[in-house]
C-alpha cells in the first residue's frame, strides 16, 4: 500500500513469513538460545545441547498423545497415572530381585513378586513380553477413559481427572509405595543406550573421559522420532487424522457427515495412554526403576503447556504434531536455560512464568499479523 522501497518490503515480508510459518516456535527457540548465549555460554556447549535433547524425547512422546486428545477438544489428565501404573507393572514383571522389607506387605507379594523377582525375570524376551503387558494395560486405561467420554458423554476433564486419582492410587497400592528396581540391562538400555556417540577433542588422549563423549543418537531419540513421524502422518495426513480434527471443530457436523465419532474418541484416548506408556517406559528405563509416583506433580502441566505453546488449541480442531515437537523443544530449552541462569531456587518459578508469558505474547502478535496480513 505504501510506496516503501522494494527490498525493505521484501525483508518485512520475510519477517512476517517467518512469524507465520509452522516452524515459528522453532525459530522462537533458536532466537531464544541465541539471545541468551552471550550471557550463558554453557547453554550452547555440545554437552548441554546433547543433554537438552535427551530430556526432550520422553516428554515429546507423551505430549504427542496429549495433542491427539486436545485435537478432539478433550484433555487427558490421566497420562501421568498411566505412566506410573504401566511402569510399575512392567517393572514388577521383569525385576530380578525384590526386597521383602519393602514389598512383603504388598498385595502382589508371593504370587507375582517374590524375592527372586517377577515372573518374567531371566525369561527369554522377558523385556518384550513385559512391554507387551504394559501396552495392554495402557490400552485398557485408554479404553476406560475413551468409553466414559464417548458413551456416557461425560466431560473429558473430569473423567481423566478421576482416572488419574484411581490409577495412580492403584499403582501406589500395588507396591505399597515401593519403587521396583533391579531391572534387566536390556530394559535399562532403552532409556540411555547410545547408538552413535561422538567425541570432540584431541585424538591422542590416551583415555577419553566418559563425560567428553556425547551421545548423539540414542534409543530414546530413535523411538521418539519414530513415534513423532508416525503421529505426524496419522494426524495430519490420514483420513483418521482429518476425522479427529473434524470432531474437534464441529462434532455435530462430523457426526452427521458419517464420521464414527465415538470410535474415534475412544481411539484417541487409547492413543494418548499408549503414548504416555511409551514415554513412561523411557522414564522408567533411565531411572532404572518402575515407580508409582512417576508422572506426578506438575508433569502434566508441562505436557499440556508444551503442546499449547506449540500452537495446539485447547478447544479442539487445531493441532499439529510438528507444533508439539517444537513446543516441547522450547519447553526443555527453557528449563535448561533456567538452570543455566543459576537463579536462586526462590526466583526460578517467577522467571519460568515470565518466559511462558513472553512466548505466548509473541504468539498473539503472530495471530494478529496473520489476521491483518495482506495477501
Amino acid at each position: 500500500m505504501s510506496s516503501s522501497p522494494v527490498p525493505r518490503r521484501e525483508l518485512k515480508d520475510k519477517a512476517v513469513d517467518l512469524l507465520l510459518s509452522d516452524q515459528f516456535v522453532l525459530y522462537l527457540s533458536i532466537f531464544y538460545v541465541l539471545l541468551l548465549a552471550p550471557f550463558l555460554p554453557m547453554l550452547v556447549t555440545p554437552a548441554n545441547l546433547v543433554n537438552v535433547l535427551s530430556n526432550m524425547w520422553p516428554l515429546l512422546i507423551v505430549a504427542i498423545g496429549q495433542t491427539f486428545v486436545l485435537a478432539i477438544g478433550g484433555i487427558d489428565l490421566s497420562q501421568g497415572a498411566a505412566i506410573a501404573l504401566t511402569s510399575v507393572l512392567g517393572a514388577v514383571l521383569i525385576t530380578g530381585a525384590a526386597d521383602p522389607a519393602t514389598f512383603a506387605n504388598t498385595p502382589i507379594w508371593g504370587w507375582l513378586l517374590t524375592d527372586a523377582g517377577g515372573p518374567l525375570a531371566g525369561v527369554d524376551h522377558g523385556v518384550v513380553l513385559a512391554i507387551a503387558a504394559m501396552l495392554v494395560a495402557a490400552v485398557v486405561i485408554g479404553l476406560i477413559n475413551g468409553m466414559a467420554v464417548a458413551m456416557f458423554a461425560m466431560p473429558a476433564f473430569i473423567v481423566t481427572l478421576v482416572a488419574m486419582m484411581i490409577f495412580s492410587a492403584f499403582a501406589l497400592w500395588l507396591t505399597q509405595s515401593g519403587n521396583v528396581a533391579n531391572l534387566p540391562d536390556d530394559f535399562i538400555r532403552l532409556g540411555r543406550g547410545d547408538i552413535v556417540s561422538v567425541y570432540f577433542g584431541a585424538k591422542e588422549e590416551a583415555k577419553i573421559a566418559r563425560r567428553a563423549i556425547y551421545s548423539l543418537v540414542t534409543y530414546p531419540m530413535v523411538i521418539a522420532m519414530c513415534v513423532a513421524l508416525a503421529a505426524h502422518m496419522l494426524l495430519n495426513r490420514t483420513v483418521f487424522g482429518s476425522q479427529v480434527l473434524a470432531i474437534g471443530m464441529n462434532r455435530k457436523a462430523a457426526e452427521i457427515s458419517g464420521v464414527r465419532v465415538r470410535r474415534i474418541i475412544i481411539a484417541v484416548f487409547v492413543l494418548s495412554a499408549v503414548c504416555a506408556m511409551i514415554g513412561g517406559l523411557l522414564f522408567a528405563a533411565r531411572l532404572e526403576a518402575g515407580r508409582p509416583t512417576l508422572g506426578g506433580g506438575s508433569f502434566l502441566l508441562d505436557v499440556i503447556g508444551a503442546a499449547v505453546i506449540g500452537g495446539t488449541s485447547l478447544f479442539g480442531g487445531k493441532a499439529k504434531v510438528i507444533w508439539t515437537f517444537f513446543g516441547v523443544m522450547f519447553y526443555v530449552i527453557m528449563a535448561s536455560s533456567l538452570s543455566a541462569m543459576n537463579l536462586s531456587a526462590f526466583q526460578i518459578d517467577m522467571v519460568k512464568g515470565g518466559i511462558i508469558l513472553c512466548a505466548a505474547l509473541l504468539d498473539v502478535l503472530r495471530t494478529r499479523l496473520k489476521r491483518e496480513r495482506v495477501r
Partner: protein
C-alpha cells in the same frame, strides 16, 4: 571448586534449614554453588544432575527423592567421574558415593515409642488404647519410612492399640480436614504421632477448640510426638504441649556432607565411597535438659527463628 547442589524440594523447614546450612558453608569456604531444585520430580532431578555433569562441575551434593532414584543418579555421576555425596536419604544400595544418612524409621520408632509408653503408663493395664498417626504423602519414601517406624513402635505393645491412620498428603489443609473428621469419629485419643513436625499447628487447631490441647501434666493431655525436630516442635516441647520429636542432626549431616565432597575434590578422587551415619535421637520431655541444643530446631528457636 564448583559444586552442584541438587535437592528435591524446599517445602519443609527441615529442607530449608539443610539447604541453608549447606549453601552457606560451601560459600563461606569459597566454593561456588550451583543449585538445582527438582520440586519432587525424580526425572527432573536426573536431568538436573546430568545438566550439572554437562556443565563440568567438580562435585555434587544430592538430596534424592528416594533410594532407587538415588542409585541411578549416583551411578550417573560416578560413571562420569564426578564425586557425589548423598544427603539424608540413603540410596537403595551403598556401593557408590559418600552417603550421609539418618534412619528415619528408627528415629520415628523412638519418638513414637516414647508417647506410646506414656499412654500405656497412664492407662489401666488392660485397657485398649487409641493411637492416631498422621501419615504423609504415600508417594514419598520419608513418609513411608516414618509410617513404618510408628508401626514398629506399636508392634512392641501387641493388642494394646487401635490405630487410626490419617492421610495428610503433606498438606496442612488436607490434614486439618481429615484429622478433624477422625477426632469427631473417635474423640478418645490416647496418643498421637505426626509424621512431620510442620503439622503441629494444624493438630493444635483441631484439638484446642475441643479442649484437648493441654500441657503435659494437665488433665486431658494427649501424648504427642512428631518427627523432624523443627523450631515449632522445640517450642512446643518446652511449653509441654508436645512430648517428643524425632531429630536428625541436620548440622552434623550438612557438615559431614560438605567436608566429604570437598575432601574428595581436593584428593581428585572421583568415586569416594563411605557411609556416614547420623544416629539421630528423639528429643523428649525427659531428655530436654541435656539434649536441647543438639536439635537444630532448638538452635533456630534460640536464634529467634519464630519471632518474626
Amino acid at each position: 571448586a564448583n559444586i552442584c547442589f541438587a535437592f528435591q524440594d524446599l517445602e519443609t523447614e527441615f529442607w530449608v534449614a539443610s539447604h541453608k546450612a549447606i549453601v552457606e558453608t560451601l560459600t563461606e569456604m569459597g566454593h561456588s554453588v550451583i543449585e538445582r531444585n527438582a520440586t519432587e520430580d525424580v526425572n527432573r532431578q536426573l536431568e538436573q544432575v546430568r545438566d550439572c555433569v554437562a556443565q563440568g562441575v567438580d562435585g555434587i551434593i544430592l538430596i534424592p527423592q528416594d533410594g532407587e532414584s538415588a542409585v541411578t543418579i549416583v551411578k550417573e555421576a560416578t560413571s562420569n567421574d564426578v564425586p557425589i555425596v548423598v544427603f539424608n536419604r540413603p540410596p537403595a544400595n551403598n556401593d557408590n558415593g559418600v552417603i550421609v544418612v539418618a534412619d528415619n524409621a528408627a528415629i520415628a520408632e523412638t519418638a513414637a515409642g516414647f508417647v506410646l509408653e506414656q499412654a500405656i503408663a497412664a492407662a489401666p493395664s488392660d485397657a485398649k488404647l487409641h493411637a492416631v498417626v498422621i501419615v504423609g504423602d504415600l508417594g514419598d519414601t520419608n513418609a513411608i519410612q516414618r509410617k513404618k517406624g510408628f508401626e514398629a513402635a506399636v508392634a512392641k505393645f501387641p493388642e494394646r492399640f487401635d490405630v487410626t491412620e490419617v492421610a495428610s498428603d503433606w498438606d496442612a489443609a488436607t490434614a486439618l480436614a481429615n484429622l478433624e473428621a477422625a477426632v469427631t469419629a473417635k474423640p478418645k485419643i490416647d496418643a498421637m504421632f505426626t509424621s512431620s513436625d510442620f503439622l503441629f499447628p494444624t493438630i493444635r487447631s483441631v484439638l484446642e477448640p475441643r479442649g484437648m490441647w493441654k500441657k503435659s501434666g494437665e488433665e486431658g493431655h494427649i501424648p504427642l510426638a512428631g518427627l523432624d525436630g523443627d523450631a515449632t516442635a522445640c517450642k512446643l516441647i518446652k511449653e509441654g504441649y508436645v512430648d517428643a520429636t524425632g531429630v536428625q542432626d541436620l548440622y552434623f549431616e550438612a557438615e559431614a556432607s560438605v567436608n566429604a565432597i570437598v575432601k574428595a575434590i581436593e584428593a581428585g578422587e572421583t568415586d569416594p565411597n563411605e557411609v556416614i551415619a547420623d544416629p539421630g535421637f528423639a528429643l523428649t520431655t525427659a531428655n530436654l535438659a541435656e539434649r536441647e541444643m543438639d536439635m537444630w530446631g532448638c538452635k533456630l528457636l534460640a536464634e529467634g527463628f519464630l519471632d518474626n
